[in-house]
């Protein structure tokens, strides 16, 4: 169960990376911090609701999720507008640095300006916590609900990309920017919308992360961002199914590592990063892999 939840979170983050890379050929390294920021906005919304006297869990949940996703959609578009679009055509290193530093700024803002932001914050359990046990397995309702929501989100995104005009525009831009422009597609609008969608996904993953672990930390996005990126790379940057597969594959490896080496549970994160490095070395362009030819 743990592995599946992790896989879904990774997949959601990886989808963001793959979307951004698709439309603009850039890697947005602030993505992980957008995820954290989403979780914190959700937490703030929850606190505000408590203050306003709303006690019922369902409206709380809805408001938390909506606040997180919408605010991060806007933030994502702003980041795209301020950090990524102006640097279009600049060396890859510049975009990388700009988004890394943007992420740092975001992280530091949370640490400095959120009340008690430098300490891990308790995230409320907003979902019913009943559980069925079947033999050795213990199935919890809240996990099941989160899983369902995540799957619906992924399927919804897939539908959006394949069945709507916006999805068509996104795919067109991803395939060939210039042709898309000559076909009358508003390039900037599509790019910014893509950034908004990807960031909203990250915010959702952030809230999910908070609900699952009941705790959020200003630095946790960094780990999820790095893993999400390598999951996307593993699946082939720019590929939708690849990102989802990569996310689950990564979670599977991590769970496997925990099962095979229970004595080394303290080294869980060390193992995760080592796997990132190894996988990137083994398949630098992903499992499905584009051919990297170079024309002079």
């Amino acid at each position: 169960m743990n592995g599946v939840m992790l896989g879904l979170m990774y997949a959601l983050v990886a989808l963001g990376f793959t979307l951004f890379f698709g439309v603009l050929d850039v890697v947005q390294f602030a993505h992980g911090d957008v995820l954290t920021a989403g979780a914190f906005v959700g937490l703030a919304a929850y606190a505000a609701l408590l203050h306003a006297g709303v006690q019922a869990a369902v409206p709380q949940l809805i408001v938390v999720v909506l606040a997180a996703t919408f605010s991060m959609a806007i933030l994502g578009a702003v980041l795209g507008r301020v950090l990524v679009l102006p640097l279009k055509g600049a060396p890859a290193l510049n975009t990388l640095l700009a988004t890394l530093m943007g992420g740092t700024a975001l992280r530091e803002c949370i640490r400095l300006f959120y009340p008690g932001g430098s300490q891990p914050q308790r995230f409320p359990a907003l979902l019913p916590t009943a559980s069925w046990s079947m033999g050795r397995f213990n199935l919890r309702v809240d996990n099941l609900l989160m899983l369902l929501a995540g799957v619906v989100l992924v399927l919804g995104l897939s539908l959006l990309l394949r069945r709507t005009r916006l999805g068509l525009a996104i795919r067109a831009v991803a395939q060939d920017e210039e042709t898309a422009r000559t076909m009358g597609i508003d390039f900037r609008r599509v790019v910014l919308l893509t950034f908004a969608i990807g960031s909203a996904l990250a915010a959702f993953a952030g809230v999910m992360n908070g609900l699952y672990y009941n705790e959020i930390n200003f630095g946790s996005g960094l780990l999820l961002g790095v893993i999400g990126f390598s999951a996307a790379v593993l699946g082939g940057l720019g590929s939708f199914t690849g990102a989802v597969l990569g996310g689950f594959l990564f979670a599977g490896l991590q769970t496997l590592g925990a099962v095979v080496m229970p004595f080394a549970s303290a080294y869980k994160d060390v193992f995760a990063f080592a796997v990132v490095i190894l996988l990137m070395t083994w398949k630098p362009t992903g499992l499905i892999g584009e051919e990297l030819g170079e024309r002079v």
């Binding site: 890697v27 301020v82 950090l83 102006p86 640097l87 600049a90 890859a92 290193l93 510049n94 990388l96 640095l97 700009a98 890394l100 530093m101 943007g102 740092t104 700024a105 530091e108 803002c109 400095l112 960094l222 780990l223 790095v226 990126f229 390598s230 790379v233 303290a266 080294y267 994160d269 060390v270 990063f273 080592a274 990132v276 490095i277 190894l278 990137m280 070395t281 630098p284 170079e294 002079v296």
Partner: protein, 383 residues
């Protein structure tokens, strides 16, 4: 112009540059209140900007020659150490800035010369520090310990060589980021290396001299940090000399080619892999030595000193100084390390401040704060 005359002019120009620099640094370090710090800073900006705009500064540098300027600056640094000989706080600041500068020189070789990204600078700094902590307690001579710090950092870095050679751009950057995070989490859970509490170190001992003790020479009380400062100056000189020698030789040309266009470089028979390996390893070794000396000076290391944020600070220094510009690098290192210490109110906000600054530079001046000077063929313009 006769040689003797030219020599005198060179010496004078170098002395002038060093004197002005020393004055500004003295003002900054001696400043007690935040207002004075601001005033000195404003003065420095006026002097440097004026010198650059009126072309006086470049002309002086050209008249003096690089080597003379470096020697004069080193003498100025020693003079400053003499002035602050009994003020451990200022001495510690100076030594820290110098060591960070050395670490940035290592990064400079990797990023600015060969174009190999390294977002784990603090991690390699830490490898050097931990090496010094582990070896420093034994009977090994400390000069060897420092060299070992560099060697171990280079060796640990060689674990990343294959991943770095198989990837490029964003992917290579991600590998170093993952390594930086891995290193930090590894230290936190590893009990033999002290876990989150870290390790204690004894001080540096060289030539029968224990650097940690204050001592009295002819009735003058000298803080132990003064000796660390001198060691840091020496290390910085060696590092600058090394980096400049590499850059001004044909190796530098090869590195430039690899950075600017891998395909073209390969077409001319330059082995991309070999030069990337050379630059990455040399850079890590330099960073490691700086880390070793720094750990011995502070006397204590913990995983928290080697976070991803710190790696980003190192890269920011490189960028704010203008990628490929050593003078700018030195200025940026001084400002980034000293300013938060001198202006306590911004101490807490320093990461935020630097990150926003870097973003602004990247967006507003994509070519860098100071434009990179292209290599001059055959040094024809030097004469």
């Amino acid at each position: 112009m006769r040689p003797a005359q030219a020599g005198a002019r060179a010496a004078l120009s170098a002395a002038a540059i060093a004197a002005v620099a020393a004055l500004l640094l003295y003002g900054f370090l001696a400043a007690e209140s935040e207002k004075t710090v601001g005033l000195v800073l404003a003065g420095a900006v006026v002097v440097v900007a004026g010198g650059l705009r009126s072309k006086v500064l470049p002309r002086l540098v050209r008249a003096a020659g690089e080597r003379a300027v470096m020697s004069a600056l080193a003498i100025a640094a020693v003079a400053l150490i003499g002035v602050f000989h009994d003020d451990p706080f200022v001495l510690l600041l100076m030594a820290r800035a110098l060591l960070v500068l050395v670490a940035c020189l290592g990064l400079h070789v990797q990023l600015a010369d060969a174009g190999v990204p390294n977002f784990a600078g603090a991690a390699f700094f830490g490898v050097g520090g931990y090496t010094a902590a582990v070896l420093g307690h034994g009977a090994t001579p400390h000069l060897l310990v420092l060299l070992a710090s560099g060697a171990v950092a280079a060796a640990v870095g060689s674990l990343l060589l294959l991943p770095l050679l198989r990837t490029r751009g964003h992917y290579a950057a991600l590998i170093t980021i993952a390594f930086g995070l891995l290193f930090r989490t590894f230290l936190e859970v590893n009990e033999t290396l002290g876990g989150p509490q870290g390790l204690k170190l004894g001080g540096l001992r060289l030539l029968g001299l224990s650097f940690n003790d204050d001592r009295e020479i002819h009735g003058v009380e000298i803080s132990g940090y003064a000796f660390y400062c001198l060691a840091a100056v020496a290390l910085a000189l060696v590092a600058v000399w090394l980096v400049r020698s590499v850059e001004s030789s044909w190796i530098g040309v090869a590195l430039d080619a690899v950075r600017l266009d891998e395909t073209a470089a390969a077409c001319f028979g330059i082995s991309i892999g070999r030069w990337k390996i050379a630059a990455f390893t040399l850079g890590n070794a330099i960073i490691g030595v700086a880390g070793g000396l720094s750990a011995m000076m502070v006397g204590f290391i913990a995983p928290n000193n080697f976070t991803f944020q710190e790696s980003l600070v190192l890269v920011s220094i490189l960028l704010l100084g203008g990628l490929g510009n050593l003078a700018g690098l030195a200025v940026a290192a001084l400002i980034v390390i000293w300013l938060p210490e001198k202006l306590q109110p911004i101490q807490e906000y320093r990461y935020l401040l630097f990150s926003v600054l870097v973003v602004l530079v990247l967006v507003l001046r994509p070519a860098g704060l100071i434009r990179r000077i292209a290599r001059r063929p055959f040094g024809s313009l030097a004469a």
